[in-house]
Symmetry: C2
Subunit: 152 residues, 2 copies
């Protein structure tokens, strides 16, 4: 269990970046489109969201590069005809709305971002290591200024 003082610093509010502010692609987009979006934004991986706003998976540069290297011939033509849904990663750790902070912190050891969905799998947004690390910086600098801390 995470105590109240640490919670106060790390999770003063929900760290969610809401869906409308998160770059994504759709299952029917081409792999080329996804590569251009990832490359132009400088992201390694983004969520795939379907027409109903549901979370369908993620696609990353590693997904696309892995496929390129597997083909007999590395080809831009193939990137234009293949769709995101043909190559996207469907097994993703997600946080379901109402998740607890301890779960979030534990998962952040392994992932740069985690999608957050509601109980119907509607995509609500993401939480990122970046936002957590901003809060940690704040805690590291402020905790011992603001609190007296003694070994029990």
């Amino acid at each position: 269990m995470i105590g109240p003082v640490v919670t106060h610093y790390l999770f003063p509010e929900e760290l969610l970046i809401p869906a409308e502010n998160v770059a994504h692609v759709m299952p029917e987009h081409s792999v080329m489109h996804a590569a251009l979006v990832l490359s132009s934004l400088g992201y390694n991986r983004i969520p795939v969201i379907d027409d109903d706003g549901k979370f369908a998976g993620t696609i990353g540069l590693s997904t696309i590069m892995g496929d390129l290297l597997d083909w007999d011939e590395i080809s831009g033509e193939k990137m234009k005809t293949l769709k995101v849904e043909d190559v996207m990663d469907r097994k993703n750790n997600v946080l379901v709305q109402g998740y607890d902070d301890a779960q979030l912190l534990r998962e952040m050891v392994h992932f740069n971002f985690l999608p957050v969905v509601d109980e119907k799998n509607v995509f609500l947004g993401i939480v990122t290591r970046k936002e957590i690390l901003k809060r940690i910086n704040f805690l590291a600098h402020e905790l011992e200024k603001e609190y007296r801390i003694e070994k029990k």
Copy 2:
């Protein structure tokens, strides 16, 4: 300044992953080789180290994908003839041995890993968000069990 209790939890020892345990490529390797190394290890970016063990830069899937997309024709041939040194990123934030913990925490907001070098630019290893986040998990769960904390 980071206080002694937070330091005790986050930096009980140096978090460096030593050079001999870090996957890397060399400037004269082909871009294809770098893509295969990145893809097979599931990494997005790795350091480039020269013959003398000095840090030369980094190469990432985003570097390679950006170049592929810029070419008239996406081509495996070109990936075999181009060298890492032709495309690698030479501007990287690095930590110089003796860096302080506050600098490390601040930089980790922006980067998944940071190269650590000595004053002669010899590559010593990397520090990663992953190792920091493991320590943060420990702090979040233990601090308020082990210490009595009161507002000043």
